[in-house]
Amino acid sequence: MRIRTVALLIILFGMLVVLSLTYAQNAPEASEKGKQVYENSCAHCHGVEGRGDGSAAENLLPKPRDFTRGLYKIRSTETGQLPTDQDLFDIITEGMPGSSMPPWETALSANDRWEVTAYIKTFYDGFKEAETPPKQISLSGKVANSEQSVETGKALYSELGCVECHGNIGRGDGTSAPDLTDEWGDQSWPANLTQGWNFRGGSDTEDIFKRFVGGLAGSAMPAFEGDSFPGFGLTAEESSRMIELDNKDEMTEAEEEESAQLYEKYDAAVDIALNLAEGTELSAEEKQIYDDAMKVVYEKSWHLANYVKSLMPEKRPEPAIGNNVLRSQYVQGELPEMDDAAWGTLEASYFPLVGQVVIEPRQFNPTVDAVNVKSYYSDTEVAFLFIWDDRTHTTDETDEETGKILEDALAVQFPVKVPQGPTAPKPYFLWGGRLPVYLWHWKASAPEQVTELTAKGISNAEVQEAQGELKAQGTYTEGQYKLWVKRALKTDDKKDLQLDPGVFVPIAFSAWDGANGDVDTKRVMTSWYTFVLEPVPSSKRFVYPPLIALLSVGFLFGLRAFVQRRNSEEV
């Protein structure tokens, strides 16, 4: 029976190989090697014909790129231009952080990556038809990062409308963020500019500059090519003046004339830019006007890039393992309330979240990057501050497919009983199993309430009958949740976790972003991490060490006296 099954499968396999080869003969001509690499490594997501519709594409967001339209987000080239071969090669090599595109640096040889680069280009005729190489963005006018440049960039961030999607301080929480779609009609979340590690194509100032100037073709991010800047063709001072005049409720006659003159210069420069874009030859004079205008635009773009760079930490925080384990700090008396300045002095521990992909329904496209945690404890209580970015504040959306209520939420998971010793088994990280877990469940719709749960599996959670006296306070501002929770170290409930200083306690998190369709098992989460109530160094340290030192000194003196006496006796 088994042999027959295997034989049948082999036959089926053979037939499919033949079928796929027959099919492949219709594909455009390219190097056979590139095609082979593509079909082995890329086609599952990008589709055999490069339409971005491979068998795995359905579950992915951002969707795999459709190569047939020549629209590429990550380029070193100007707006509307195709990418260079090097651009494509680099993306294959480095992958697209924050999406499902992995880096292929180790999985494919450099030669294979070049072959597949050539093959991908065959999906779009524009590559073949192009008469000149794509025009690259010049980085020569780079403006050095300075406080003043960042300030100028900040003003531009508001003037150009970046806030509409990226939010006031860049967390991707602008009021238009939930409505954005890409060129294919799929949801397209604006970048959280405070998380540079999730930037596709890198987060160096040069990378940010190139993304901004060249645009992310195909995404909802518009191109800010030259004439998108209000006052294109004017000097920085002139354009500020133009905008200033625009914002006046009433203009004097002189001001009106001044405004009209500025507009005339502006319109003329726009006309020249369009002529150039449409392929009209420019006169030397026009070329000069255009070059001058672009110089101003590029300079502004560098300021903006410097500002965006200033929004993110230099590198991704280290996860809360090893030396970064979450250590709750001891304070005497009352624990700090949510708004207490004491929280500002603590360094947060960083817990990266990943999509839950073990159990249906899964989350393949997480939108919450991580949860940051700080903690204090006293002789009787422990307080936590949980901080995480979420682009939208969702409390009661209804999921169109399932009818379920979608809302933002966080769950903090502990074992009910702390495993004794590092090798003792912990409960299964997906909300327990044979060994139960103890959970705090917080929902955005009831920000002052944390519910205690006991769970023996991700779909097997029960609200505890006895709800302890947990205090909670949750806020949402500028794309960020803050949740403060306080509980007694010891409780009477056997289903609760009991806390003692110095004991390493497993801790894990789940988060739900309602706007991303998260509900039930569809969520982002961590596996087990560790936290500890950092033991207070004993006050006896001021007593014993000096005492021992004193005794030692005394002993030495005694010894000296004894030896001296003996020596004198011997003489």
Binding site: R2, T5, V6, L9, I10, L12, F13, L16, V17, L19, S20, Y23, A43, H44, G47, V48, E49, R51, D53, G54, S55, R69, L71, G80, E159, L160, G161, E164, C165, T175, S176, D179, L180, T181, E183, G215, G218, A220, M221, P222, A223, F224, E225, D227, S228, F229, P230, G231, M242, I243, D246, D267, V270, D271, L274, A277, E278
Partner: protein, 260 residues
């Protein structure tokens, strides 16, 4: 163990194969497009005729759908806005239908003085349907003094996705070379904003007004196929109506459309 490996490989291949079969069929959406002649030559037209008519809607008129204004309420929410994909007026007159000649190869030139503009006012595109001659610049106006973002979902020409910051009152867009349409125009900042444009190679296109009326003027005498397109009612591009235009004559051709 080996059989598992083979089984998973087989499944993988089946998936890929099935995927490609389906992918090959995905061009079906093009049915909704306008049809353009391959070549068009502008010439002087003497004694041209006129094609006119009225487009009416047949069926239960759905209730007007109010648009949900989710941001910039002060500017966008000053008056109530309705979905414009189906605007039915008095006597079932159907607004915003494109009526056009499908197979004309020579005729009048475009009116070079005509303004090709769409205004963004009160966070609404006006007009809802705009005809853009190829080689002409579509100018986007911003009467709102707030940020808009012009996103034209072209497939044949390069898509346009261009920010129009609040200080940008007037934004002419690069002329395109290829006929295409209709394609949707959206504003990414205000998701409810929607308009449709068509890049056309000849001037025999009309858009019906509130009374459902259209007129195509100065048509050289001859036999033509007359087509229509409506956002909610579809198109007859595959089975257009034949009309015969006589020198200086007038032909009347009415249409009655249903929801597609």
């Amino acid at each position: 163990m080996k059989s598992y490996l083979l089984a998973s490989l087989t499944i993988l291949l089946v998936c890929c194969y099935v995927g490609t079969v389906f992918a090959a069929d995905s061009d079906a959406g093009d049915m909704e497009m306008l049809v353009f002649p391959e070549n068009y030559k502008a010439m002087a037209v003497n004694d041209g005729g006129t094609i006119s008519g009225v487009v009416k809607f047949e069926g239960d008129v759905p209730e007007k759908k109010a648009l949900e204004i989710t941001k910039d309420e002060k500017v966008c929410g000053a008056d109530e806005k309705f979905d414009e994909s189906l605007v039915v007026g008095e006597g079932n007159a159907l607004k915003n239908t494109i009526v056009y000649l499908i197979d004309i190869s020579a005729g009048k030139d475009f009116d070079k003085d005509a303004k090709v503009e769409i205004d963004q006012k009160g966070c609404k595109f006006t007009p809802h349907i705009q005809i853009v001659p190829i080689g002409a610049r579509l100018t986007m106006l911003n009467s709102d003094k707030i940020m808009h973002n012009v996103h034209i979902f072209s497939k044949i020409n390069k898509p346009v996705n261009k920010a129009q910051p609040k200080a940008r009152r007037k934004m002419p867009l690069k002329a395109v070379k290829k006929a295409e349409g209709p394609v949707e125009v959206k504003c990414d900042v205000h998701g409810w904003m929607s308009a449709w444009i068509s890049y056309v190679p000849h001037p025999y296109f009309a858009v019906t007004n509130e009374k459902g009326e259209f007129t195509l003027e100065n048509v050289p005498a001859g036999e033509y196929k007359l087509g229509y397109w409506h956002e909610a009612c579809g198109t007859n591009s595959k089975a257009p109506v034949a009309v015969t235009v006589e020198a200086a004559g007038t032909v009347t051709q009415d249409f009655t459309l249903k929801l597609k």
